[in-house]
C-alpha cells in the first residue's frame, strides 16, 4: 500500500513539475495588452496591409491608470504583422483584452472577409470584440483616441455603450459579422466612426453586402435600423409639431414590444409588412402652452409622430434595398418561414435579385405616454 502511495505521489509530482513551467512563464508584466487592432491599406504595396496595434501600458508607479502606445507595421497578413511587432517589443503581445477591431473604409470597400476570418479564428481574441469601420485611416483614428484626455483601456467599450444608449449606431460583434458572412440570411453591419484632429466619434452604421462595404447610414437612420432590429434601447427624435407649422417636438422613444415582419412574395416582388410597436414620451417642444393631458391633443401628437416614423423607416428601407441591395434586417428569414424545405425555397426565390424590388408597408403602433414631470406648460 505504501509503495503504491509513493508511486502515486511521484506521478502527481511529475505532472505538476511538467506543467509548472508552462503555467507561470507568462506573467502580467511580460505581456503587452492590445486594446484595439487597426487594419489599413498599405501606402506602398497594394498587396499588403498596414497593421496598427494600440497597447495599454501601465503608467509609472506614482500615477495610476494606463497610457496608450500605437505600433504600426506594413505586412502581407495579420499574423505576420503580429509576429513582427512581437519581435520588435520586449513583451509578448496578448489580444485577450482587445475590444475593438478597426478597418478603414477604403479597405472595407474592397472586402474584409480574409481579415474577419483570420481574426475570428484567433483563440485569444474575444468573439464579442466590436467591429469598427473608420472613415479616415485607422492609424489616424487610433492616434486621435490615444491623444484623447479621457483615454482609458475601456475607452472603446464606453464609447459604444454611450452611443448605443442614444441608438445612433448599432452593435457589431466580430462573431456576428463572421456568422453573417458565412450564412446568407442577412447582411452584416459595422460601427461607422471618424475623426478630426481633436476628436474621434461614432458617425453611424456601415452597411455591407456580404464582405464589401456598400453604404453608410447616418445617426438618425440608425434609429430606424435599431427599431427594425429590435435593438432600440431609447432615443430622442425630433418631429413636426402638429399644432404649429415650422416648429418641432422631441419624443423619447423605446420599443413597446418587438417589431414583426410579414413577407409576401408576389412574382418577383416581395411585399414586406413591418409592424412596429413604440412607446413615446414628449420631452420638449419649441412651442409653449402645450397640454399633454387632453386626449385629443395626444392623438394629434401621436399621428404626427406616426407619420414621421413611417417616413423615416420607409426612407431607411428603400435606401438599404434600392441603393445598397443589402438586407441588413434579415427579411429573408421571415420569408424562409413560409417554406418547408430549402429545395422548395431555392427553386422559387432568388433573394439577391428580388430584394431591390421590395415594397414596404410600415405600420406604426405608437403610444404616447404623456410627458415627464410637467404635463401642462
Amino acid at each position: 500500500m505504501t509503495k503504491k502511495r509513493i508511486i502515486s505521489l511521484l506521478l502527481i509530482l511529475f505532472v505538476i513539475v511538467a506543467f509548472m513551467g508552462s503555467y507561470d512563464v507568462e506573467g502580467i508584466e511580460d505581456l503587452a495588452y492590445v486594446i484595439a487592432i487597426g487594419i489599413d491599406k498599405s501606402e506602398t504595396n497594394p498587396d499588403n496591409i498596414k497593421l496598427t496595434l494600440q497597447i495599454a501600458k501601465p503608467k509609472d508607479k506614482e500615477s495610476n491608470g494606463t497610457e496608450p502606445e500605437n505600433l504600426s507595421i506594413e505586412c502581407p497578413t495579420f499574423d505576420t504583422g503580429l509576429s513582427t511587432l512581437n519581435n520588435s517589443i520586449d513583451k509578448k503581445i496578448n489580444l485577450s483584452h482587445c475590444t475593438a477591431v478597426i478597418i478603414s473604409e477604403e479597405l472595407a470597400k474592397e472586402g474584409i472577409e480574409p481579415f474577419v476570418l483570420n481574426l475570428s479564428n484567433n483563440t485569444e481574441l474575444r468573439p464579442t470584440c466590436h467591429l469598427f469601420i473608420s472613415k479616415n485611416k485607422c492609424e489616424d483614428f487610433m492616434n486621435t483616441v490615444a491623444n484623447s484626455p479621457d483615454f482609458s483601456s475601456g475607452i472603446y467599450t464606453a464609447t459604444i455603450k454611450s452611443s448605443l444608449s442614444s441608438s445612433y449606431t448599432t452593435e457589431s460583434l466580430l462573431y456576428d459579422f463572421y456568422s453573417t458572412l458565412r450564412y446568407d440570411i442577412k447582411n452584416p453591419t459595422g460601427i461607422y466612426v471618424g475623426n478630426t484632429k481633436e476628436k474621434a466619434e461614432i458617425l453611424g452604421i456601415a452597411v455591407f453586402k456580404r464582405s464589401k462595404l456598400v453604404g453608410i447610414l447616418t445617426g438618425t437612420e440608425s434609429i430606424s435600423h435599431n427599431i427594425l432590429k429590435n435593438k432600440l434601447e431609447t432615443c430622442s427624435v425630433l418631429f413636426p409639431n402638429p399644432f404649429e407649422e415650422g416648429k418641432n417636438m422631441t419624443a423619447n422613444l423605446s420599443l413597446a414590444k418587438n417589431s414583426d415582419f410579414k413577407v409576401d412574395l408576389q412574382g418577383d416582388t416581395p411585399h414586406i409588412t413591418c409592424n412596429i410597436f413604440v412607446e413615446a414620451r414628449i420631452s420638449s417642444s419649441q412651442t409653449t402652452n402645450d397640454d399633454y393631458t387632453s386626449e385629443e391633443e395626444l392623438d394629434k401628437i401621436n399621428e404626427a409622430l406616426n407619420t414621421f416614423l413611417t417616413t423615416s423607416i420607409r426612407n431607411y428601407l428603400y435606401k438599404t434595398s434600392k441603393d445598397f441591395n443589402s438586407d441588413v434586417i434579415g427579411f429573408e428569414g421571415a420569408l424562409r418561414k413560409q417554406f418547408l424545405t430549402m429545395d422548395e425555397y431555392s427553386s422559387r426565390v432568388d433573394w439577391d435579385k428580388f430584394y431591390p424590388n421590395s415594397e414596404f408597408d410600415i405600420k406604426i403602433n405608437s403610444v404616447i405616454e404623456s410627458s415627464y414631470l410637467f404635463r401642462k406648460h
Binding site: 506543467f19 483563440t123 468573439p127 453573417t180 450564412y183 418561414k337 417554406f339 424545405t341 422548395e344
Partner: protein, 373 residues
Amino acid sequence: MNSDYKISKLEAIFLILIVMINKIILNVPKSIIRLTGTGSLVNIIFVGALALILVILIVKLFKNFPNEDIIDVSEYIGGKILKTIVGIGYIILFGIVICTVIIRFTELLKVVYFENSPYIYITGFFLIAIGFANKFGFKSIIKTNFIILPFIFASIVFILFGISNYISPSSLYPILGNNIKNTFVDGISNIFAFSGIAYLFFTSPLLKNKKDLKSIGITFIILSTLFLFIVVGALLLVFPFITHSEELLSVYILVRLVEFGEFIQRADALFIYLWIISAFSYLSIALMFILNIFKKLTHATEHTELSFSLCSIILGITLLLKDSNLLSFIEDVIYKYYLIIFVFGISTIIMLLANIKKKFFKKSPAPNNQVKT
C-alpha cells in the same frame, strides 16, 4: 465487473447519460447539423422516437436475461466463437470512443491553453487519470460519476442562459431542412447520437433491481433527446453559419460567448475544467467496460491490473491518429456506421435470436448456468 456492488436506478441513468453529455460536448450536434441543416430539430425528434422504440425493444429482449449482458447472451446462442467476436466488437467500439475523445480534448487544450506543451503530455495526463480510476474499481467510478454529472448538466444549462442574448429565431427555417428525404431518410443515421444505448447492453447485470432497466432506458432517451434538441437548437440559433462550416468544438465556440455583465467574462476556462472532469469520468467508464469484456473473454482474475497496459496501447493509437482528416473520417464514417450496424443492428439481432432460442428450445440452459470448461 469484479465488484459485487450493484448500482441504483439513478446511478445507472447517470452512467449512460455521461456518455451522451460527452457526445454533446464533442462534435455530435455538429455532425447532426452537417447532415440535416435547419431540419436538425425535427430530425432529432424523429431519431429520438426511433431510439425510444429500439430501447423498449432491447429492454423487452433483456427480460428473459436479467443477469446477463450481451457477451453472456452471445455465448448462449453462438458459443465461444460468437462471444469472442461480439466481445472484440465491443472492445473496438469502446476503444474508438476512448481514442477519439482523448484526441479531441487534447486538440482543444492544445489550441486554447497549452499551445507549447507536447501532445503526449496532455494525452498521457488523461490516460494516467483513467488508468488510476480503473485501479480503484467499479464502485469508485460509478460514485464519482454520480457526483460529477449534475455539475456538467448545470454547466450546459448555464451556457444556454449565457447565450440567450445572441439568438436569432429566423435561422431555424426552413424547418424541414434541405428536403424531406434528407431529414427523414438520410437523417436516420443521426441515430448514432444515441450511442449510450451500447452501454445498455451491459447494464442489466449491474442493477440492484433488474426491473429498473426499462425506466432507465426510457429516461435516458428522453433526457438525451431533450439535451440534444436544446444544444442543436442553441447552435442553430446563435451560429446559423454552422451548417456551412467546420470548427474545432462547436459547443466550445458557443461557450466563448458566455458573459454575465462586466463581472464574469471569458468563462470558457471554467467550462473546459468541468468538461475535462466529465471526459475523465466517461473515459474511465469506457475503459471499465473494455476491462470487463476482456475479463469475460479471457477469464482473467485480476483484470484491473491490466488498466495501465491498456492505457499504454491507447496512448500509442492516439499518437497514430493525430491527423485530423483521418480522425474526422473515423468519427463521421467508421464510428457512426459501426455503431449503427454492430450495436443497433447485430446486437439487437443476437438478443432476438437468444429470445427465440429460449422460447423454442427451453431445454437450453441459461448462459450463466452453462458449464464453463
